[in-house]
């Protein structure tokens, strides 16, 4: 499948369109028969046959046939085909009502806005240093885990439920402060000495920092789960009969995250500090010549990213009952990184879009696609969907949905 515009024969063009035909065929087939399994077989066999045809035509034309390129291409069509078969089957079976879909979508948005908040930290740092702050998930954990004690204290004194509109911002600010402190220390101790090292070196440091932070906080607060107290204000639901019933907590998550992201956007676009950040991310040397203190800007970037992650931690804690513990940052950290890449890493609006997108896909995907493929226990497979998204984005669109800006610098 080497695209070569000069000498594409008619045969080549047909061959190139065949995968689409195959995907369409299995989609329609699944819709007609309402059984996934034969069509999955058709899809995979079809791709194998296509591989053979491609290999043959390349051999006839005396060109190189790259197995790797073909496999990656085939992967793309197989995934599209599987998604199609799965969703056609689920929708045709009609097991879920519109209300259920809407609810899944909205809880996906709520989950996604938390990813988006964390993803901003990855994206800001990547935009400036071109490094993945692997320990960012632990920054999120630090704020959430520490603030649970303040929340408990406020709850015991009755303040939390008496004045929730004052208490919740206090919690947010406290968590933001803790996470900011952790992020800044991390930068000073672990990353600054390595600023000019080869790129894998800070990544390994970051992995080390991630484990160090996890087990430090385990040492501080113990290995058990702690839960945030429930706030009465957030415990109701908003109902529109037959269409949707949304828990208030989800609305809170969504709008709180939106407000924070709006604030960040203004900070980056409208303030002098934001201008300096953008300048440093564009070109470090030149901005230094323009009188910008790079070390200070980098520190600020880590601080802002950390603060957002800390706030995200509290928001998450208030809306989910599972509670917080020292490992809570790892998986959301990877997912937030996925969101950042999905939106285009280094791109601030991209991280927001990517986070919401991932949240929705992760919530709807198992029910829509996997259950349609006849897989049992689909809700255990949320993480599989998210990590598969990660790998797929890195393979097919490493510059992300919105990001073109950094694509050449990144590779």
């Amino acid at each position: 499948m080497q695209p070569n515009s000069k000498e594409t024969s008619r045969m080549d063009q047909i061959i190139r369109r065949l995968p689409y035909a195959l995907v369409a065929l299995v989609g329609v087939g699944a819709l007609m028969t309402r059984t996934p399994d034969p069509w999955i077989m058709v899809l995979i066999l079809g791709m194998l046959v296509l591989g053979g045809v491609n290999f043959y035509s390349a051999w006839r034309a005396g060109k190189d046939f790259s197995v790797v390129d073909f496999t990656i291409d085939a992967l793309r069509y197989i995934i599209i085909g599987l998604v199609l078969i799965g969703s056609v089957n689920t929708l045709a079976a009609g097991r879920y009502t519109l209300e259920q879909w809407v609810n899944l979508f909205i809880s996906g948005l709520a989950q996604g806005s938390i990813y988006a908040l964390i993803a901003l930290g990855y994206t800001l740092v990547y935009g400036i240093l071109l490094m993945i702050n692997f320990a960012h998930g632990e920054v999120y954990m630090a704020g959430a885990f520490t603030t649970v004690f303040l929340a408990e204290a406020l709850n015991r004194s009755g303040f939390l439920n008496a004045y929730p509109l004052i208490a919740i911002p206090i919690l947010l600010i406290f968590a933001a402060g803790v996470s900011m402190l952790v992020a800044v220390l991390l930068e000073r101790i672990a990353y600054r000495p390595l600023r000019n090292a080869p790129r894998l070196v800070p990544l390994i440091t970051a992995i080390g920092a991630s484990f160090f932070l996890q087990y430090t906080f385990r040492g501080f607060y113990g290995s058990g789960h702690k839960t945030y107290p429930s706030v009465e204000l957030l415990s109701g639901t908003v109902t529109v009969p037959g269409i949707l019933s949304i828990p208030v907590a989800q609305l809170f998550v969504f709008f709180a995250a939106l407000a924070l992201m709006g604030g960040l956007y203004l900070l980056v676009e409208r303030t002098k500090l934001g201008k300096a950040m953008r300048a440093v991310s564009e070109n470090k040397e030149v901005s230094q010549l323009m009188g910008i203190d790079i070390d200070r800007i980098i520190l600020f970037t880590f601080a802002i990213g950390g603060a957002l992650a800390g706030a995200a931690g509290v928001i998450n804690g208030l809306f989910r009952p599972q509670g917080v513990n020292f490992t809570m940052g790892f998986v959301p950290g990877i997912k937030a990184f996925t969101s950042a890449v999905l939106g285009g890493i280094g791109n601030v609006p991209g991280a927001m879009v990517g986070g919401l997108f991932l949240g929705v896909i992760e919530n709807i995907g198992p029910t829509l696609v996997l259950s349609g493929l006849g897989i049992p226990g689909v809700n255990q497979l949320k993480d599989v969907i998210a990590f598969t998204m990660l790998v797929l984005v890195l393979i097919f669109r490493p510059q992300g949905i919105l990001g073109e800006r950094l694509s050449e610098k990144k590779a």
Partner: protein, 579 residues
């Protein structure tokens, strides 16, 4: 008192340095207490009734801070009275500062009920840091401060000693302390060599006696005084020999090493052999992953997938339980020796399949994508989807022991030889690869992919080879792991395995085979031997990874090529080195 006198003399006292090192040591001391390390370590006695591991840990920050401060101050200057006073006075001040944060915590911990937040700031902690004076906090704090002063004093005085004496003292101290910490292990080894009466002079049960510690220290000091001479004489004798004899000496060394490895289980007994099997499994995986990371520069964080595939293949093919292939299909001719090559091939296939999509990615993206693969495999292994095949969270049980010419391989001593053979074979393959054309291609790709491609290297092919070959040993390690534990659960295959292997490669030295062995001994062996360490192993791995990357990126036992490269790239444009 001392410091105020010195301010009047011409010698410039480094207040800033003292404050910095002192407070740093203080924070570290407070930290190890607050995270519960001191308390956990306190359960192990290093020297009978004199010193526990927790107390040793509390002395450590002040000692190191004073030592570093003193050696920085003394660098390049001759020993004069003023210097001596400055260094010793600074050291004492560092000792005081090091105790300060913990003392503050001692006094505020009870009235503020800090325990309700920081779980480890409890009565046990208080008892340890006040040296059993929980009822009298003032006395306890004085003791803590005095002990820190002592440690800092020793740390700074050591620097002032002449070179040879200093080395002897350091060797003596570290030898007796290491023997003390590893008391249990040392005793088990000694039990095979010398009569029990002699051991009882040195040890009381499993703890080193004070007399024993002193004896070991003196012995170590004396041998360190003569060691340098013996060593230089030996090397000069070898150098004078003709080339043929030199290589014979080298082969004799290898032979000796092999001999020691062969009789090792008889020397160290059952429990330690078990530890050595685990260490060997990690050496095996380290050799494998080293091909990807150390040679080809591909940071693979999903190495555990290969290990898991090897283990699950072995389990499914050999289990006599409900999930085993014998009961599901009736094929019952599989045994461990047939399965090993199958596991190896299956792991290679996995490595190949997972390598294809990530071939075009570089550096950090590759790392995250492979990490994603590891997580996907783990989540699938616990899920209901694959429960009918591999048992979900309950895993696969009822795996029989492997047979070797009619004898069951069931105790660690026997398994040790299985692992040893696997390790030696892998080592040979790894050395041959290192010096092969493919090995050179990998190194070229590691240094610069674009240049390598421009030189005519088929980058995709070389990378695929690296992933596939590195996966192979993971599969073998997984298979051996199964006949060691005889059950397979998804929880044995978390991301921690990958990080563990990565850490030992980084600590030992990327691309260096001896480094990997050393790394496994330290990072895998130590936590297995000492429960205290195993509780904090991930914390220590984290610290080690950060520390090694900042201070010694080439590792403890670096490979020669790598060392040379790092030495040259450091001076010339490091940012351009890329990944």
């Amino acid at each position: 008192m001392n410091e105020t006198n010195k301010k009047n003399t011409s010698f410039k006292f480094n207040w800033q340095g003292v404050l910095r090192y002192g407070l740093l040591a203080g924070i570290v001391l407070l930290y190890v207490g607050v995270i519960g390390m001191v308390e956990t370590f306190n359960e192990r006695e290093v020297i009978y009734t004199v010193l526990t591991l927790g107390q040793l840990l509390m002395l450590f920050p002040a000692f190191v801070a004073a030592y570093v401060y003193a050696s920085r101050t003394m660098k390049g200057s001759t020993v004069s009275t003023q210097h001596v006073l400055g260094v010793v006075g600074g050291g004492l001040l560092i000792g005081l500062l090091a105790a300060l944060p913990t003392i503050i915590m001692i006094f505020i911990s009870t009235p503020l009920d800090i325990r309700s937040i920081l779980v480890n700031v409890n009565r046990n902690w208080l008892e340890v840091v006040t040296y059993d004076n929980r009822d009298n906090l003032v006395n306890g704090s004085m003791l803590l401060a005095l002990n820190n002063l002592g440690a800092a004093l020793v740390g700074s005085v050591i620097v002032l000693l002449p070179e040879r004496v200093r080395r002897a003292v350091v060797v003596a101290l570290s030898f007796s302390l290491v023997v003390g910490v590893m008391g249990e292990t040392v005793r088990t080894i000694l039990e095979q060599l010398i009569p029990d009466e002699a051991i009882d002079v040195i040890f009381r049960r499993r703890t080193l006696r004070l007399e024993g510690a002193l004896g070991i220290g003196v012995l170590a000091a004396i041998s360190s005084l003569f060691w340098a001479q013996i060593r230089s004489r030996a090397t000069s004798t070898v150098e004078k020999m003709p080339a043929q004899q030199q290589s014979m000496v080298r082969y004799a060394q290898y032979g000796l090493l092999l001999g020691v490895l062969l009789i090792l289980p008889f020397l160290i007994g059952r429990a330690l052999s078990d530890v050595m099997v685990t260490v060997g499994l990690y050496v095996l995986m380290g050799f494998g992953l080293n091909i990807a990371i150390g040679l080809a520069g591909l940071l693979d964080l999903g190495y555990v997938t290969n290990y898991a595939v090897g283990a699950y293949i072995t389990a499914v093919l050999t289990s006599t339980g409900a999930l085993g292939i014998a009961s599901t299909t009736g094929l019952d001719f599989f045994n461990f020796w047939i399965v090993i090559p199958i596991a190896l091939l299956a792991a290679m296939l996995t490595g190949f399949i997972f390598a294809v999509p990530v071939l075009k990615m570089r550096g950090d993206y590759l790392a995250i994508a492979t990490l994603g693969f590891g997580e996907i495999i783990y989540t699938l292994a616990v899920s209901d989807w694959f429960r009918p095949i591999i048992g979900g969270a309950q895993g696969i049980r009822e795996i029989p022991n492997a047979m070797f010419f009619g004898t069951e391989i069931k105790n660690p001593e026997q398994l040790y030889y299985v692992v040893l053979v696997a390790c030696i074979l892998t080592l040979i393959v790894s050395i041959r690869l290192n010096n092969s054309r493919t090995g050179r291609q990998w190194m070229a790709i590691r240094e610069d992919e674009d240049v390598a491609a421009a030189m005519g290297i088929d980058v995709a092919r070389a990378k695929l080879l690296a992933f596939t070959i590195s996966a192979a040993t993971g599969g073998v390690a997984g298979a051996i792991f199964v006949i060691k534990v005889l059950t397979v659960f998804p929880n044995s295959f978390t991301v921690f395995v990958s990080i563990n292997v990565l850490s030992l490669i980084i600590v030992g030295g990327m691309g260096s085979n001896p480094g990997i062995v050393l790394g496994s001994l330290v990072l895998v062996g130590m936590p297995e031997l000492l429960r205290e360490f195993s509780e904090y192993r991930w914390l220590m791995y984290g610290v080690l990874l950060i520390f090694m990357m900042i201070r010694r990126p080439e590792g403890l036992l670096p490979s020669k090529i790598r060392q040379r490269e790092l030495a040259t790239t450091e001076s010339s444009a490091p940012a351009a080195a890329g990944d």
